[in-house]
């Protein structure tokens, strides 16, 4: 499927820092802020932990997008 198809559900892998972005995602939950369900968070202790190889690995394995947040 592609981006032109309205039913397309992208596979987005996010690396989220435990102390800010992951906590922020928790806060979004506490406030019941709604967002698309296509994103999957991988908790890392710090965005500095994200090795470029993880990003490449995700794309190689078929991820449509990678978000590194910290």
């Amino acid at each position: 499927m592609s981006i032109d198809n309205p039913n397309w559900e992208p596979k987005i892998v996010a690396f989220a820092c435990n102390w800010c972005s992951y906590a922020g995602a928790d806060l979004a939950g506490l406030n019941r802020l709604q967002y698309p369900a296509d994103i999957r968070l991988i908790r890392v202790p710090c965005s500095g932990r994200v090795d470029p190889q993880f990003v490449l690995r995700a794309f190689h394995q078929g991820a449509d997008g990678v978000l590194v947040s910290g």
């Binding site: 596979k11 500095g48 932990r49 993880f54 995700a58």
Partner: protein, 461 residues
């Protein structure tokens, strides 16, 4: 206050600011800047002679929000703790012209020291309680309809506190700042800056409903025959005995009018408030002698910089972010750093005291343990793979990586080389070194490359 100053376990640094904080829970090193006071507090006996003789007079007193005046050498107020003065170098004649030194000449204990300099001191602590409080929203920047601060008799609630305070500039008499006349009618406007997302803040400042009720009652009490009007959006009295307190005001004759004031303008020496009484559904005009605005609480100036310095986060309004709004209201996301009072969000005195005691209990709980269990998710080095490039050493934000010599067999003999080693007490497990390690010798326990790659693979199946 005196109990704090006299407590043998409390070491006070007033006129001082936090310069730097390093370390982690249980082991912080704090650098404190003691600002130059130009008065040796060890010698000063607080007699106050200098204040009476200082020729640099008529400086607006910040403590009274400009309602009163002070001298260059001054105490904030007569009951200050410690009860010792400082010299405000910016306004001091000696500093400005080089000539004066009256205080130096008359000081009976020879405590004046014009050569005084800022001084840095270091303290080691295991926990930090942030209690930096609030400032008031500057309404003069945004509220044009209330005159942008052009009308001297439109003041904030804090100004009013100084006017009714027995040790304030008027000795506790409510007087108009413009002409010193005692007002016969005072209007109070609530939610100035609070609950106003177009001009101010979205949140409710929580204490204003109650202090406005108090102010209005004080007007009725101190000025016989006076009128007090309160313009409000809602009256929020959620607290023990709060509703009863508000009803006391209503019974004392305070007139509550539900409506937003749309304009204040002068008529003669009076002020006219235009509003709508939304309960009666008609426009209304009230003429008064003085207007008091219940302005929003905002984080104290410098809060954001301080949060960055100590290393924890702030919320969308700049208040300090608690770790959980319900279950961890005094913790931050940073271990060993706790919050107390209005720095975490607007609150009144009872709530502040409760939160301050809660923060204290958290600190005592931490201190009650003989030692602290470290989290085991720290970096480790596989010495055999480490090339000794030292690239990880400057990367580590906690200075946890050093180099050590190891002996290895190879090339037909024993050779010595240097490899990285991790101090597990200092390592906070961020893993920055792992990403930086070119030879794949570093790994983070609990978040190894294999574990994270397994997660990526599982998600992309």
């Amino acid at each position: 206050m005196v109990a704090v100053a006299q407590h043998p376990n409390i070491k006070m640094y007033t006129y001082a600011e936090i310069e730097a904080v390093s370390g982690y829970i249980g082991n912080f090193t704090v650098t404190i800047r003691r600002k130059a006071k130009y008065v040796d507090w060890d010698k000063c006996n607080g007699c106050g002679t200098c204040e009476t003789k200082c020729p640099s007079k008529n400086i607006k007193n910040e403590f009274d929000l400009g309602l009163g005046t002070r001298t260059a050498i001054h105490k904030a107020f007569p009951q200050a703790v410690p009860n010792k003065p400082v010299i405000d170098a910016e306004n001091c004649r000696k500093f400005k012209t080089g000539k004066c030194g009256v205080c130096e000449k008359i000081c009976p204990t020879k405590a004046i020291n014009f050569e005084d300099k800022d001084e840095l001191v270091t303290e080691n602590v295991g926990a930090i309680v942030m209690a930096t409080g609030f400032d008031l929203f500057d309404w003069t920047e945004t509220y044009g309809e209330y005159g942008y601060g052009r009308f001297p008799d439109v003041v904030s609630g804090l100004h009013f506190e100084r006017l009714v305070n027995a040790s304030g500039p008027t000795g506790g008499k409510i007087k108009r700042p413009s002409d010193g006349r005692i007002p016969e009618s005072v209007a109070f406007i609530k939610c100035v800056g609070s609950r106003d997302d177009t001009k101010g803040k979205t949140y409710c400042s929580r204490a204003c409903c109650m202090y406005t009720a108090k102010h209005a009652m004080q007007v009725k009490e101190k000025i016989p025959g006076s009128e007090a009007y309160v313009f409000y959006m809602d009256v929020r009295t959620a607290g023990k005995n709060y509703e009863e307190f508000y009803q006391r005001g209503v019974n004392a004759g305070v007139k509550y009018i539900r409506g937003r004031v749309s304009k204040i303008y002068p008529r003669g020496d009076k002020l006219v408030l235009k509003s709508e009484d939304t309960l009666l559904g008609r426009p209304i005009e009230v003429e008064v002698d003085m207007v008091v605005l219940a302005t929003a609480m905002v984080p104290a100036r410098g809060s954001a910089e301080l949060a960055k310095l100590v290393g924890f986060s702030t919320d969308k309004d700049g208040f300090f972010q608690e770790a959980h709004p319900k279950l961890q209201p005094v913790e931050t996301f940073t271990g060993g750093v706790y919050l107390a009072g209005a720095c975490q969000g607007p609150k009144d005195i009872p709530d502040t005291v409760a939160q301050a005691s809660a923060a204290a209990v958290k600190v005592c709980g931490l201190f009650s343990k003989p030692e602290l269990a470290t989290q085991p998710m720290v970096s480790e080095v596989e010495a055999g793979k480490c090339s000794g490039c030292e690239f990880c050493v400057p990367i580590c934000p906690y200075k946890a990586i050093t180099m050590k010599a190891i002996q290895e067999r190879g090339h037909g003999g024993v050779i010595e080389r240097r490899v990285a080693t991790v101090n597990e007490g200092l390592c906070q497990g961020c893993g920055a070194c792992v990403g930086a390690c070119r030879s794949g010798a570093l790994n983070l326990k609990g978040f190894t490359d294999e574990q994270i790659v397994a997660e990526v693979d599982a998600l992309c199946l």
